[in-house]
Symmetry: C2
Subunit: 672 residues, 2 copies
Amino acid sequence: MKIFILCIIISILALIFSLVLAFSIFKIQVMNAKIKEISMLISKGAMTFLKREYSYLIVFVITLFIILLFAINIYTALAFILGSMFSMLAGFFGMKVATYANSRTVEGALKGQNEALKVAFSGGSVMGLCVVGLGVLGLTFLYLIYDGNVSYLTGFGLGASSIALFARVGGGIYTKAADVGADLVGKIEAGIPEDDPRNPAVIADNVGDNVGDVAGMGADLFESYVGSLISSITLGAVAYTGNLNGILYPILLSSIGIIASMIGILVARMSKGKNPQKILNLGTYISGIITLISSFILSKIIFNNFNSFIAISSGLIIGIAIGKITEIFTSSDYKEVKVIAKQSETGAATNIISGLAIGMKSTVLPIIFIAIGILTSFYIMGGHENSYMGLYGISLSAVGMLSITGITVAVDAYGPIADNAGGIAEMSHMPSKIREITDKLDSIGNTTAAIGKGFAIGSAALTALALFASYAQSVNLKNIDILNPLTLTGVFIGAMIPFLFSALTMESVGKAANEMVEEVRNQLIKNPEIMEGTKDPDYERCIKISTTSALKEMILPGILAISVPIFTGIFLGTEALGGLIAGALVTGALLALMMANSGGAWDNAKKYIEASGGKGTGPHKATVIGDTVGDPFKDTSGPSMNILIKLMTIVSVVFAPVFVKFGGIFLNIINK
Amino acid sequence: MKIFILCIIISILALIFSLVLAFSIFKIQVMNAKIKEISMLISKGAMTFLKREYSYLIVFVITLFIILLFAINIYTALAFILGSMFSMLAGFFGMKVATYANSRTVEGALKGQNEALKVAFSGGSVMGLCVVGLGVLGLTFLYLIYDGNVSYLTGFGLGASSIALFARVGGGIYTKAADVGADLVGKIEAGIPEDDPRNPAVIADNVGDNVGDVAGMGADLFESYVGSLISSITLGAVAYTGNLNGILYPILLSSIGIIASMIGILVARMSKGKNPQKILNLGTYISGIITLISSFILSKIIFNNFNSFIAISSGLIIGIAIGKITEIFTSSDYKEVKVIAKQSETGAATNIISGLAIGMKSTVLPIIFIAIGILTSFYIMGGHENSYMGLYGISLSAVGMLSITGITVAVDAYGPIADNAGGIAEMSHMPSKIREITDKLDSIGNTTAAIGKGFAIGSAALTALALFASYAQSVNLKNIDILNPLTLTGVFIGAMIPFLFSALTMESVGKAANEMVEEVRNQLIKNPEIMEGTKDPDYERCIKISTTSALKEMILPGILAISVPIFTGIFLGTEALGGLIAGALVTGALLALMMANSGGAWDNAKKYIEASGGKGTGPHKATVIGDTVGDPFKDTSGPSMNILIKLMTIVSVVFAPVFVKFGGIFLNIINK
């Protein structure tokens, strides 16, 4: 009991720290009127989107609340409300601060690179600390008021998941519609550079960075964080009957992870040096080491052995390894990006083929690492003797991977803030010295974002796996047999869903980008003064187009992700649903890796050619095409996979009692 | 016993019929010297490739024979030799005839469209009849001399599978290296039309059609045909102990399918009419109806119920449905191709995005059909009471789908022959009337090829599923539990293999195409007379490049497909291997569908824009890029998936005794 209250205190501390950081950003004065104006436009655009999105989501949340109330129970339904609220709160606050931090980063750059880095990183840290603080606070609070009845906690996860889906899909469509639309007309037709204020879609593009990369990513990791904890708590309760050790260990470790993240953030903020990448890495390493040592000690104290320490470390190592592999496949320092650049010499077609091939190849090592992680954490916990212990081990590895979420989100969210700062500096015609600083911070942001994507995919896969184990336990399945044709059917349909989902989100980006192209073209044709620079374009119309399309297009994928598992469970039964989850999990993770890495590699192949002076040449044009194909890959469809696999799994966990009650309508008919 | 001899007689009849057809083609005199010359070049090029390929394969076959001899037994090893020989024989003979039929089709066109169609279709029929004749002959012969010991038959399947892998992968790389290489320099740089004799790679391109689309496709379907029969025979032996009914039914049905195919071929050959598509459809429908009626009667006679008839029909219906869905997604008569054409207006990037999205979406219905087919054929045979009966039902649906392979291969192989005829007519400057005929036949060939691809994928998925069931039976697994982390690991790794495999084959095409581009450029620069038309290019050097690259690049994927299941089985055990097969099967089928349909849709979007007079415009250029990306998709990586999933499964079936003996080294260590 006392320990749980300690955890609550730690989580509240994290939230207070994030408030302090937020105020440190708010209090920086922006002197330049142009910067102020642009920053206001971005902030307003982002908030408009979030408000309209949330007005949709409230309808959704209430509907699902009522369904849960009747189909499951009031406790789960209330937990669902809390999970949704916390996810929205984290997204709202994190993004609000990010849209303030961008202009303050430009101000900071006036004082030097270290100051700019500090502001941008503080902005990211607010998001990171909100995610972990609200996660542990919500779960511990529910655990206490529900008097240790862990099954209700899944509602909290469902809330986090469903908000995350809409945030990721909506945000992803928003950001890429604006980006692709701005590029297609601006760069290619009108011949104006990126972030040029004459482009009517430029503010929408900047808003998109916040909406997709800050709010969407934050909601994604909030879901993973919460999901892995819920899974380890529910499995821990089954694996250790008679004592709370199985529950205490992951909650305590996460709380220590929060402290470690705060220390890491403080160290990084205080560090000075020429290489911002090193400073960010330092913070991450410190947090990681503190968490590892604590997990070693906790393991000894609570379980009197080091097995759980090994499970936790295996997760952390997988997370770092997948991040590194992502870097190897998407950074121009390594071979693969250079191969794409080389293949661009024979045109766009060979650029696309080699980018797709590299994305596909990049799935190999992460999958092998995940496989090793599964086996290690299962067997080290003695899964061959007691399978619940083994499954608990798998959930611990997910918790381990996510234990330092506080600082990984901070580093990840720093990227779009630096990117925005660069845009603002460009649009407000800052001196080149300032832009050099923001460019440098931005380019590091690209690397951290790529690594962050790898981390998000890895954590989503492990969390979904852990929740898959919880699902089996909650529907009382001792095994899920793929020789059973119903299970096999489930696997086939489940594996197909990520393909359908990717197709839908890619088409949505296409449609929304087309609307944006029309609007931008129209404005430029009707008002030639815009290109002369004597009249401001109508930014708000572009923002409105992105907002409306994104919200409209997120509905179908959202319904799909929630209804497919429910229908499968009711009609084909729990074993088929198990197959469905496994199938979706596997292809979802593969497509997520492939899309993120193809997209990242195409992007950097373009930058590589630009850096070697190839701008405007044939090969460069080929890489621009590759980069545009990669946009929805890496920022819309790819990241949506993370949510899809977690959401489908947690829906199955929450609705488990319903499936057990119906017992598979199809089978009942067959057996009659 | 007598019935088996009857089956042998029928299969020999099919082979005699194919010889008769072959001689009817050989005896047509080619008068035009230019046609003769070009045809000789193509024929020689194709045979050179096949001979060099077979010289590699013999080494491979002997190596695997020795392994089988020591690891399994002499009977399986000998059956393996026979399967390999028969596959090579079918490929060699079918392709030899196809390379004769192409020039004779041009000769036929001089007499009119019907005559040209008759020659081209006869050429295709030779391949079709060889496939089914050699398949039934080999299996029935082995069954008799092995005195009904069905377990040795799997060796025959392994032989067919491994030859198919090299034929499909090697042929696919050959054809696309030549095609992409010819297009990149010819169409884009030199500005000469397709099939222009001044292009040094043009003969290699035509050889590629025979190597990839005739020999590769034939080997693919030979494998499916043989695989589905082996699976139903081995499962039938277990499901019906004490009598031979379970074995008799599929063998008899296939023999009747051979007769039905011969009747269908005869009817199509004798039909006259303006619409070649209708003539080909007529033949297919007649064969299908005869087979369905026979299966109805056989079902009543052998089993005294109609359950097996329903299982058979479900397979046939799935085959036809997947073909139709393929047509809907890849023909310009329907919406999807028009969407790609529309999206090409904003450039190559949006063309690529929408093509990928359409390919992904096109997986939905085929997967649902396969799922329905699995459930129908399993439960109708009473699988809920006796799972072997249900699995036997699944294998019957595969047999049903493949029962009319004779005519489907004939229709499919007709396409590349007509395509080649068009090329020869173009190169030998035939009058436009002749080229109109060959163009018409070629355009129908594109549709039949697309449908054939859908059929090949569907049959591969069902065959692999049936073999998967045989695998479980041969290693005595009562269930394959995905909650077991070893199985889950297997699923993950298995699902990743098709991604790796696709990446490898796509990169191979890229590499080989680049070599081809260099060679073509070199020839055109060093010999300006070639472009003036006063000197013939050195076709043979291009043929040599395609041959060498294709053979070199097929080795790694080949080793991968065979060694991964063997290592998994030995180290992780039989249940993990079951997971591996299931994972590979599911993503393999998904990627195959996606790649085939994206590729087909891109191709036809280009043709659609050309047909509406858009040649040379911006959108047309965008579709040319899409089409080039689609080339390795639809003709190399996509079709290779079919073989990959079947080969990995049959390897697992054949090596089952080894895995059982080792019992999973990893688990043994854990348990100690």
